[in-house]
């Protein structure tokens, strides 16, 4: 089968996700129960079970991914995180000076932890028996997770798109699959364009809402000051505001995710992401509704739906064969960062 080695037309390999909401619900509820009765200790094992299920359900070109994270390592990370975050919260309430000291301490170690967490996450992911990995240096970690964000606060957030591009560039160019490096070529300009479009739409919608909806609400307030329906109309206006936020936010998510993955490669293989605004919004809104109506029992279904959509909108344009990747020489990574990133809800996927 060597006849197509010089063929330049790539083969599209879509990612498929075979997990189902009902199976994840059973895993989730058992995990939840065990986590509660063990006062959270089991949550590290729960995480490993969940990730193993999701990774083994994610297929690319017929092969699935695998998660290798070790629960004891994750538990240690979580304990460290609880101590640090708890300490910070208590310190802040005890006295501003102690709080400030704790803040400086946290700021000093957080970039290192985030870096370690990236390493842990990727090192413990494999595909076709080859592990992923993350390089980078502590110096770079501090630059992208501390100095640039601090600098950004002095520019009133104007640097955010630039910072976002730099972060993604760092993340994607330092990632590797075995000994093969990923690459990233989205420009700062394209990030600014995406952010600007998002803000223009957000503000435009808000202005319309303020003039149309709130205008009529205030008018009805003025007309019948003691009308019982005025509370209803105010609630309606606030509801409309939320609805708009939940409509525009998915647009941003969609655009930025497509931008990032459409400019990421693994050697000669190109990624493609084709999320659409309408579908993203629909899934997010119905998920939210489902969770509220079922008092949370829908959340595993919601999680699978959202993950399935995001993963299956991604594909890889394979140039040549996926058979030629080679494992990198061994590395060991601690999980302290991973547990920390988990608790801080630091989503590194976007």
């Amino acid at each position: 089968m060597d006849f197509d080695t010089n063929n330049t037309t790539p083969k599209r390999e879509a990612i498929t996700f075979s997990a189902t909401g009902s199976e994840y619900f059973r895993i989730w509820i058992v995990n939840l129960l065990l986590s509660i009765v063990t006062l959270g200790i089991y949550s590290a094992w729960a995480k490993v079970r969940r990730n193993r299920y999701f990774y083994s359900s994610t297929h690319l070109a017929g092969s699935s991914f695998e998660y290798h994270g070790n629960a004891v390592a994750i538990l240690k990370g979580r304990i460290a995180a609880v101590v640090l975050i708890g300490g910070y919260n208590i310190a802040l309430r005890v006295s501003p000076i102690v709080g400030l000291l704790m803040f400086v301490l946290l700021a000093a170690i957080l970039p290192w932890l985030v870096w370690k967490s990236l390493q842990f996450k990727l090192y413990n992911t494999s595909y076709r028996g080859i592990r992923f990995g993350f390089g980078g240096s502590a110096k770079e970690a501090y630059k992208y997770f501390l100095w640039l964000p601090i600098l950004n606060t002095f520019t009133a957030g104007l640097m955010t798109p630039f910072l976002h591009q730099r972060l993604k560039r760092f993340q994607h160019t330092q990632s590797r699959f075995g000994s093969s490096q990923f690459s990233f070529d989205a420009t700062v300009g394209s990030f600014y364009k995406t952010y600007l479009l998002f803000f223009a739409l957000l503000l435009g919608g808000l202005l319309v809402l303020i003039f149309v909806v709130f205008g009529s609400v205030f008018a009805s307030f003025a007309a019948h000051a003691n009308d019982a329906t005025k509370v209803g109309s105010l609630l309606f206006a606030i509801g409309a505001l939320y609805l708009w936020m939940f409509t525009v936010l998915p647009l941003f998510l969609t655009m930025i995710q497509n931008l990032i993955w459409n400019h990421t490669r693994l050697q000669q293989h190109q990624f493609q992401s084709q999320l659409t605004w309408g579908r993203t919004t629909f899934i997010m809104l119905t998920n939210l509704l489902g969770i509220v109506v079922t008092l949370g029992l829908f959340s595993p279904f919601a999680h699978v739906r959202w993950l399935k959509y995001r993963l299956e909108a991604t594909s890889m344009l394979v140039h040549g064969s996926l058979d030629e990747f080679v494992a990198a020489t061994g590395q060991q990574v601690s999980a302290t960062g991973e547990g920390m990133a988990d608790l801080l809800d630091f989503d590194l996927s976007m």
């Binding site: 199976e23 058992v30 359900s57 699935s64 695998e66 028996g129 959340s299 494992a327």
Partner: protein, 336 residues
């Protein structure tokens, strides 16, 4: 080789990866004499005891790993389960629980029960323990700055005459307090933009608004209000509430955080209201005991809530305080 025909039925297709390269090998897997045997693109055998089998699942691919990092992917779940069954492999109890709907239903009921029990019984006890364990000096610092903030945004200086303020303070200071210790406190008067109100801060400040003083029918009723607020301080209600809401918040974030932070902020808000009604009853009880000890008729305290009851026409649902009528009822019942 002495191929046993009987065991050949358990040959199934698998995909093999050697752990060094991403190359895919198509193989067949069979089990003979306690050994897993691979044939096809690669030939290999390994004792069953050295292999690791991934957990059972209906929709994820099963994997069998070799000690050196090589592994097999098996798509045919049913055939593989039969093969495993023949080798005497048994799933762990957690996996069996996860795979059965009855187990999941049981876990759901147990989870709801565990959450309810810990919210109802465990959390208040823990919060109380923690609140009393925190040194008072630390607790004090918790509330510092709150009064400054309120002074800046909500309050103005009291219009009440200094002599009148002093008289009320002294009258309250003369009263005996229940229990063997009196929490340190300071009574401060403020004119407010939010109407009649009285509350205690963890710093030990009991704030009484001019509007509240005016609303009260007599000074004994004011003593009742102060006793109620002292009850909050004595029982460390604010600190307990702070601990409880943080715990519920952390729990909700763990439950729903994956999907939406908006959803995760609702339960702590709603659940806090129940605690806060319990806490009001506790403070009422403290005030009842204190007034009794000092020979003040409980009817004065009842009049506080009668007066307050005339003010609020709010809904009883989602209310942070028990309904005034209910409180009046409780106080009068204690009087009998």
């Amino acid at each position: 080789m002495h191929a046993d025909k009987q065991e050949d039925r358990a040959t199934l297709a698998a995909r093999y990866f050697d752990g060094q390269t991403s190359r895919l090998y198509h193989v067949t897997l069979s089990v003979r004499d306690g050994m897993a045997v691979l044939a096809g693109d690669i030939e290999r055998s390994c004792p069953l005891g050295e292999l690791h089998v991934s957990e059972r699942s209906s929709h994820a691919v099963r994997k069998v790993s070799f000690p050196d990092g090589a592994y097999l992917e098996i798509a045919d779940q049913a055939a593989f389960n039969d093969l495993l069954h023949d080798t005497g492999h048994r799933d762990g109890w957690v996996v069996r629980l996860q795979q059965s709907w009855r187990g999941a239903l049981l876990a759901t009921v147990a989870t709801v029960l565990a959450l309810w029990l810990s919210y109802q019984y465990l959390l208040p006890v823990v919060a109380k323990g923690v609140a009393y364990a925190i040194p008072q000096s630390v607790e004090r610092q918790l509330g510092q700055g709150v009064l400054d903030f309120l002074d800046k945004h909500v309050f103005e200086a009291s219009k009440l005459a200094g002599a009148r303020q002093q008289a009320l303070r002294q009258q309250f200071a003369r009263l005996a307090t229940p229990g063997n210790s009196t929490p340190e406190h300071r009574i401060v008067f403020r004119k407010s933009k939010i109407g009649p109100n009285a509350f205690a801060l963890p710093s030990g400040d009991i704030v009484l608004t001019d509007e509240m003083v005016a609303l009260m029918p007599d000074d004994e009723a004011i003593m009742g209000v102060l006793a109620h607020e002292l009850g909050h301080l004595q029982q460390r209600h604010l600190t307990r509430r702070l601990i409880q809401t943080s715990a519920v918040g952390a729990g909700a974030a763990l439950l729903f955080g994956d999907v939406s932070t908006v959803v995760a902020t609702l339960p702590p808000l709603l659940l806090d209201l129940k605690y806060s009604r319990d806490v009001e009853r506790e403070a009422d009880d403290y005030a009842i005991t204190m007034l009794r000890q000092n020979g003040i008729a409980l009817e004065h305290l009842a009049q506080v809530f009668v007066a307050l009851g005339k003010l609020d026409q709010g809904t009883p649902y989602l209310s942070s305080h028990p309904a005034s009528a209910e409180r009046v009822e409780r106080i009068r019942a204690a009087q009998r």
